[in-house]
């Protein structure tokens, strides 16, 4: 079981693949060797998930993604009083499941954020192509997944004259106070 689960992607591992076999189910199952193998497998999965979580956090981290970083870390808030100890099989399973949930949550948020950024980039391109159709629209660099606090804005050239004459342009303001 351990070898099989180690070779499979996490998402394909059956939910109860590494659960301790019920005592007495058969002579071969549930023995110390199999339990030890299950524990090894769970520890390997936890290690992989921890690396995945770190990768996800660093992939998404920019000036606009602090909330996502917090989401990645939020799962551990309840286990502050933990002490170092040898975990039981069920504790290892809970640890693995909690990490898996956090990886999935982080990836979902990353995906949602990427979709929003993509949509905003297309909108910005349209603003640049036809500023007159997007009067006074604004897109912040933050909403494009970029650092800094610049803001793209469609404004009339020469103020009131441009507004009356239909001369529109896209300007990037610093956005910083």
């Amino acid at each position: 079981v351990a070898q099989q689960t180690l070779q499979q992607p996490f998402s394909e591992v059956p939910r109860d693949a590494c659960r301790a076999p019920a005592v007495g189910r058969s002579r071969r199952r549930g023995g110390p060797d199999e339990t030890a193998a299950a524990r090894r497998s769970l520890r390997a999965q936890i290690a992989k998930l921890e690396r995945d979580l770190a990768d996800t956090l660093l992939t998404c981290f920019d000036h606009a993604s602090v909330d996502l970083a917090a989401a990645v870390a939020e799962g551990g808030a309840g286990s502050g009083a933990a002490a170092p100890r040898l975990l039981t099989l069920s504790e290892l399973e809970r640890q693995r499941d909690d990490l898996a949930r956090r990886v999935v949550t982080a990836r979902q948020r990353l995906s949602e954020r990427a979709t929003v950024h993509e949509r905003n980039r297309i909108r910005l391109e349209r603003m640049l192509l036809a500023p007159g159709h997007h009067k006074f629209e604004r897109i912040a660099n933050r909403d494009l997944g970029l650092g800094g606090c610049g803001v793209w804005q469609v404004r009339p050239r020469l103020g009131l004259v441009g507004m009356l004459a239909g001369w529109w342009e896209v300007k990037l303001s610093s956005g910083c106070p």
Partner: protein, 235 residues
């Protein structure tokens, strides 16, 4: 006598055989149930004579300043993907610690640097341990050598055991992983040192120890202990 079933990592050279001019390293014992669970876990220790003057030299303070400039927010965030620092994060999870709550030693040091604006000098020993962990990502601790009996090791605490041998020593919960000598627990693994076992102003001899986990090459542990001991005794 070390506890029965003492064990160490089978796939690496014994620290006693480590060449070089560094400190004489000894491998501590790992109690059998812990070694079964973590075959690559090791404790490495060495002796250290402490000088009378415990103030950090200018060179040590300069090193801390240099490291302060090198470690910024991005470095702190990227630490978790570095192999050695990441290995300690994974080990923390394996022993039930949440590394985003109970920080690994190197992450705690770098986080403190961010909060304080720099690595703050606190005395020669503290600075030496800080330099070791920041340079190598491998934590090093120091214990007063006088009350120790035998070699150090790692085991699970038993019922009604206390952290240290002082009268005021707090009880430790059974099953908690501790660093112990052959008589009693001295420190929680990756945690507090028991009262009476810290290095004090009167301490003349100390024992430095480090914990090697899976994914950390022995040379990093060797380097960490060497950095700490050579900072304290440069000659």
């Amino acid at each position: 006598m070390a506890p029965a079933g003492m064990s160490g990592p089978p796939d690496r050279p014994s620290p006693e055989a480590a060449p070089g001019d560094g400190p004489q390293l000894r491998r501590g014992w790992i109690d059998a149930p812990v070694a079964d669970e973590f075959p690559q876990l090791a404790l490495v220790e060495c002796d250290l004579e402490l000088p009378g003057d415990r103030r950090s030299s200018r060179g040590v303070r300069d090193q801390l300043a240099m490291l302060s400039n090198r470690h910024r927010g991005a470095t702190a965030l990227a630490l978790r993907r570095e192999p050695v620092a990441g290995a300690y994060r994974i080990f923390f999870r394996h022993i039930g610690l949440e590394p985003d709550v109970t920080r690994t030693p190197v992450e705690a040091a770098v986080l403190e640097r961010l909060l304080r604006g720099g690595f703050v000098s606190r005395g020669l020993l503290e600075d030496a341990l800080l330099l070791a962990v920041v340079h190598t990502s491998v934590p090093v601790w120091a214990l007063d050598a006088e009350p120790l009996e035998g070699r150090l090791g790692i085991r699970a605490a038993r019922d009604d055991e206390r952290l240290g041998r002082a009268v005021t020593a707090p009880l430790i919960g059974a099953g908690r992983l501790v660093v112990a000598d052959e008589r009693s627990p001295l420190a929680v693994l990756f945690g507090a040192i028991g009262p009476g076992h810290e290095v004090s102003r009167d301490t003349r001899r100390a024992v430095l120890f480090s914990v090697q986990v899976a994914g950390v090459p022995f040379i990093h542990v060797d380097e960490a202990l060497w950095v700490a001991s050579s900072t304290i005794n440069p000659s």
